[in-house]
């Protein structure tokens, strides 16, 4: 039968394919979008290990410091990366951070709501705004760049106007006292593994304050959220049907629709994802500082996109990874903190950020061509 002859055919083919199999481990590595970011972060750590190895940057306190900065950026970078893989941008991330901050602070301070209800209120607003972004992009077919740029201005303006209208100022302090005994706030405000740091302190393994308590008190909540979100996003992208739909929606919208992928729903959910991630960022920041500020999160959307791009996401969608974005965020966080430990003027940080992004884009572009070149 014909099937038989085909299998003979394929056997003959596989003879010549053995030759190709030998280079496949390299291909597998090149196939991973986070390769560039992995190399980049190793370089960054080697560099600071040499330049700032003895300055306290890599002490428990110093490490937690740059991890905290990386983690905060990472939380929004992962959501931005997932959206970018889905083929869209969200430029309203930074404004959403500011908006979410006052959504927590105004009800809690001025309206007397319990802190946990204002936190839920902030998340509800995030879902609404994300949904609005998504539905606008999906229904109108306009570029998300434009729609979310409009949202960037709307949210920032509304944040400022509403805050000034209600409070007469642009900062809302006084949240710290509300954290204690709140059923939800601890999720965003508790240092974990404190016992470990106390023990390390008692063993004189880490630096202590003059009163004998350790300088680093525990793992900050941002780091826990960051790790959890990286794992969750990676699981979704690599292991679930929804993850496949994200790649498909970003890779070829029309094709995905034709084979039955609900592209519109996927994109809307990803916009909700970035807004919710911004709100997680805002919760951690607001509860850590004890105050909300209308200017919080300014330019964070661009940093998040930069981290995602350095992490291997393609601007055109359909390709990228959450681990890559996480590594991108670690690179930025490490450099932005590490630069204080070196003799380099911190003014140079933005130069580095831009250069890093350019190199990443060129590198990733080259890799993508390698991966998909027709034989």
């Amino acid at each position: 039968m014909s099937v038989k002859s085909e299998s003979i055919q394929s056997k003959k083919d596989s003879g010549q394919d053995e030759r190709l199999k030998k280079i496949s481990p390299l291909r597998v590595l090149l196939n991973r979008p986070e390769l560039g970011a992995l190399g980049g972060s190793i370089l960054v750590f080697i560099f600071f290990g040499i330049v700032a190895g003895d300055t306290g940057m890599f002490s428990a306190y110093g490490t937690l410091n740059f991890l905290d900065v990386s983690a905060n950026l990472g939380i929004i970078a992962i959501a931005a990366a997932m959206l970018m893989i889905g083929g869209e941008f969200d430029l309203s991330i930074g404004s959403m951070i500011g908006f979410a901050g006052i959504c927590i602070a105004i009800p809690a301070i001025y309206w007397g709501w319990p802190l946990w209800t204002s936190i839920i209120f902030a998340f509800a607003m995030a879902v609404l705004i994300g949904y609005f972004n998504g539905i606008m992009v999906v229904k109108t077919g306009l570029p998300s760049f434009i729609v979310t740029l409009a949202m960037l201005f709307i949210l920032r303006g509304a944040t400022l106007a509403i805050t000034r209208l209600i409070t007469g100022r642009t900062q809302i302090p006084g949240l710290r006292v509300l954290i204690e005994d709140d059923p939800i706030a601890w999720l965003f405000a508790t240092d974990t593994f404190q016992w470990l740091f106390t023990w390390l302190g008692s063993m004189k393994l880490i630096a202590l304050r003059t009163d004998g308590t350790p300088l680093a008190t525990g793992i900050p909540p941002s780091v826990i959220w960051f790790i959890a979100l990286t794992l969750f996003a990676t699981w979704i992208l690599m292991k679930t049907r929804y993850g496949n739909w994200i790649f498909a929606s970003g890779g070829d919208k029309v094709g995905a629709t034709n084979v039955g992928v609900p592209v519109g729903r996927v994109k809307i959910s990803l916009f909700i994802g970035t807004a919710v991630a911004s709100t997680i960022f805002a919760c951690i920041q607001v509860l850590d500082a004890g105050s909300a500020d209308t200017m919080r999160g300014t330019l964070k959307e661009l940093e998040a996109i930069a981290a995602a791009v350095v992490g291997g996401c393609l601007l055109t969608g359909g390709y990228g990874s959450a681990i890559g974005a996480a590594l991108g965020a670690i690179i930025f966080g490490t450099v932005s903190m590490g630069i204080f430990y070196t003799d380099v003027d911190t003014d140079w940080f933005k130069v580095f950020l831009g250069a890093m992004m350019l190199i990443a884009v060129v590198f990733n572009n080259y890799i993508r061509k390698k991966v998909t070149e027709t034989k």
């Binding site: 496949s24 196939n31 094709g255 995905a256 034989k375």
Partner: protein, 264 residues
């Protein structure tokens, strides 16, 4: 049950004042390959999209397995077994063979809320299915971008068959391919038909259509010029009908005239 698996009776489709299709009728049996021929602008794309459930016909009816069918969406057409492979193939070149094969219909395992995409199973099925058509995917997780045009076409067809297509609608499957690749795809189409599928092969290339087709429907300016069995029509006749016959006939007469004048 009638001898036809699917019938499209007097289908018309209007876009505003434009008559895209008028009274087009086609009937297909199991195992039959019908070639839908037509020049650019003949209404082929509109007809395919009507078959695939993208457009609703303004007049006429679709009868599938003796039942009248109305499609509300492309999904409905897929569900009853009309699988359409568009020219763009609906493949994402940066995604793996497996992820493309199961795009939109991923097999799942595990408990509710923790359901995962069963990649091992998907890899096995994809490699097996591609193997059956003689394409040895060395690694089902390789990107589709690394495959040749013919292999991609076969992947898209194989996917449609795997997901239960009984009627396979193929939009210009060979138009972008070289001779060798095109013959690989055509061979696969014949094989699919021999397993009991009805195939509608849309093309403007008579040389690809004629060897594989059992019957031929010619579209011209939105109207069907009739369906012909292979024994009733020659390749040349088909070609001249497609190009709006008269024009070619006229050209021929003019050329003869010129010839005559020169010879005198």
């Amino acid at each position: 049950m009638s001898e036809y698996l699917v019938q499209f009776n007097n289908i018309s489709k209007f876009f505003g004042k434009v008559i895209a299709l008028k009274d087009v009728t086609m009937k297909l049996k199991k195992g039959e390959i019908m070639c839908l021929l037509g020049d650019n602008g003949a209404g082929k794309s509109t007809l395919i999209k009507t078959l695939a459930g993208v457009h609703k016909p303004d007049e006429g009816e679709i009868i599938f397995e003796d039942q009248k069918i109305v499609f509300d969406s492309p999904r409905d057409a897929l569900d009853i077994g009309i699988g359409t492979v568009y020219q763009d193939l609906a493949l994402v070149s940066l995604m793996s063979v497996t992820r493309n094969f199961f795009m939109g219909r991923e097999p799942q395992k595990g408990l509710p809320f923790f359901r995962t995409f069963d990649i091992e199973k998907a890899n096995t099925i994809a490699a097996e299915r591609m193997g059956q058509i003689g394409i040895d995917v060395r690694d089902p997780s390789q990107a589709v971008g690394t495959m040749s045009g013919g292999e991609r076409q076969c992947l898209a067809i194989s996917r449609a068959i795997y997901f239960g297509a009984k009627v396979l609608v193929l939009d210009e499957p060979t138009s972008a391919l070289g001779v060798h690749q095109a013959s690989m795809v055509l061979k696969y189409i014949v094989k699919a038909a021999s397993q009991g599928l009805a195939v509608i092969l849309i093309t403007h290339n008579v040389h690809h259509a004629y060897p594989v087709g059992n019957s031929f429907t010619v579209l011209n300016r939105g109207k069907s010029m009739g369906t012909f069995q292979k024994k009733d029509i020659s390749r040349e006749k088909l070609l001249s009908m497609m190009a709006g016959g008269e024009e070619l006939d006229k050209l021929e007469v003019e050329l003869k005239e010129m010839d005559r004048i020169e010879n005198n």
